[in-house]
């Protein structure tokens, strides 16, 4: 039986096999491996720490309770990111929380609309949690990412922050490979435009 210390050296598939065999340590190892990547993806998608924690928790509970139905021919990372992304996208669609960015709604057309929908860092009544969020997601690039369409955002985060290959992203997001490439290229194009003012 592999000890928790030995679990670190095993591949995802081997840890999953142990989890399916009922090893609690293997479950904990999977959480430790993916809690930061999953939480970071969800947080950058929904831009709300508490909500991101809830959705990440929901992701892991769903994934680990369904570990028996996981197909080992796919990468575990693709599988868990798929569940996490679905949770985030479902939530954004339901609540349209993608409009809550520090720079205001991406659909806001006029300066007044942008100002009205923007979250101001240092507003009176800001809780410590909100201050933390503002610090975490307040950089120019984070704000630029927040202005991307959710589909573009998921693709660019999975590619360049989580380091997934195009094929894995296609698998994770249930999208054709060509669509994933297009989304990533467009996202980079938009990000370049959004960050262009920093050079001037």
């Amino acid at each position: 039986m592999a000890e928790p210390r030995e679990l670190v050296t095993l591949t995802d598939q081997e840890v999953v096999a142990l989890a399916r065999d009922g090893r609690e340590a293997a479950y904990r190892e999977l959480i430790r491996r993916y809690e930061r990547p999953v939480f970071s993806l969800v947080l950058r998608m929904v831009r709300d720490r508490q909500l991101a924690e809830d959705l990440s928790q929901e992701t892991f509970i769903k994934a680990l309770n369904a570990i028996g139905s996981y197909r080992p021919e796919y990468k575990f990372s693709s599988w868990i990111f798929k569940i996490a992304n679905n949770a985030a996208i479902d939530h954004l669609r339901r609540r349209e929380l993608d409009t809550l960015s520090l720079d205001g709604a991406p659909h806001a057309a006029t300066p007044e609309e942008i100002e009205a929908t923007a979250l101001q860092v240092g507003d009176k009544g800001e809780t410590p949690l909100e201050e933390l969020e503002a610090r975490e997601l307040g950089s120019a690039i984070e704000r630029a990412i927040a202005q991307l369409r959710p589909e573009y955002r998921a693709c660019i985060l999975l590619r360049h922050v989580e380091g997934l290959a195009y094929e894995e992203i296609a698998q994770s997001l249930d999208l054709p490979l060509g669509t994933v490439k297009t989304y990533i290229h467009r996202a980079r194009h938009e990000l370049r435009d959004l960050l262009a003012h920093l050079k001037q």
Binding site: G22, F39, E53, F60, I61, H185, R192
Partner: protein
Amino acid sequence: MTDHTLHLRPDELDLLLEGRLASDRTSHIETCEECRSALDELRDVVAQLNALPALEPPAGFSELVMASVRVAPLAVGQHLTADDLDAWLAGALHQDGRNHLWACTECRQLADAERALVYRLEQLPLFQPGARFEERVMAKVAIPKSWRSRIFASRRSVALAAGLGSLVVGSMGASVAWSLTHQDTLAALGTWATTVATQWTLAAAQGVGSRILAQPWVLELRSAASPGRIAALTAGATALYTGGLFAMRRLLALPAPRVARALP
């Protein structure tokens, strides 16, 4: 008298100097004073030209030329594609693409901007969820118990499993031992069972057959049947069966691949 039509032409004189003139023309020079003189004159000119010193270009000449040469703007279609940029970012851009990147300022600027952006994205930190995240998840995860952990869960389960195992193994062993010591009895039992089963099957088949034959519709069918009707019925059934086979074959056939054709 000298035959002027045989004089060596200037190109032949060149070939003669280089030692590549055909031998039938080379012999002419031995008898023709005029051609020999022309050859000597050409040899002098070549020698003088070869003696000219090599001159170095002025300093900064190559820079001056390159500054005046503008890289020809490439058509939009020839610029690097997004896939090319991906390949470049991964260090796998093909040679043509690298050549283009070197020559095209526009593509180079784009590639540099892409690299800077990707670098910034890759530097983004991963965030840590709140404390006790793992515990909160584990509290809601139902860990399936393997048969091994179920057996060894308690002393009682171990005893139960051991008892059940002993019962199964013991009964199997007893069966095997009894079979080995009572082979005649087993053979007799087998023969008896086969006979009884055959009798029962035959009796059941006869019973079903006689019941069907006793049905009124069978009697009606018998009276209505004539050789012509039976032949027509058979032919109809055969035609229906054949038609069905063809229909099935058509349904199961794979569709022909659609071929994209160029527009005229």
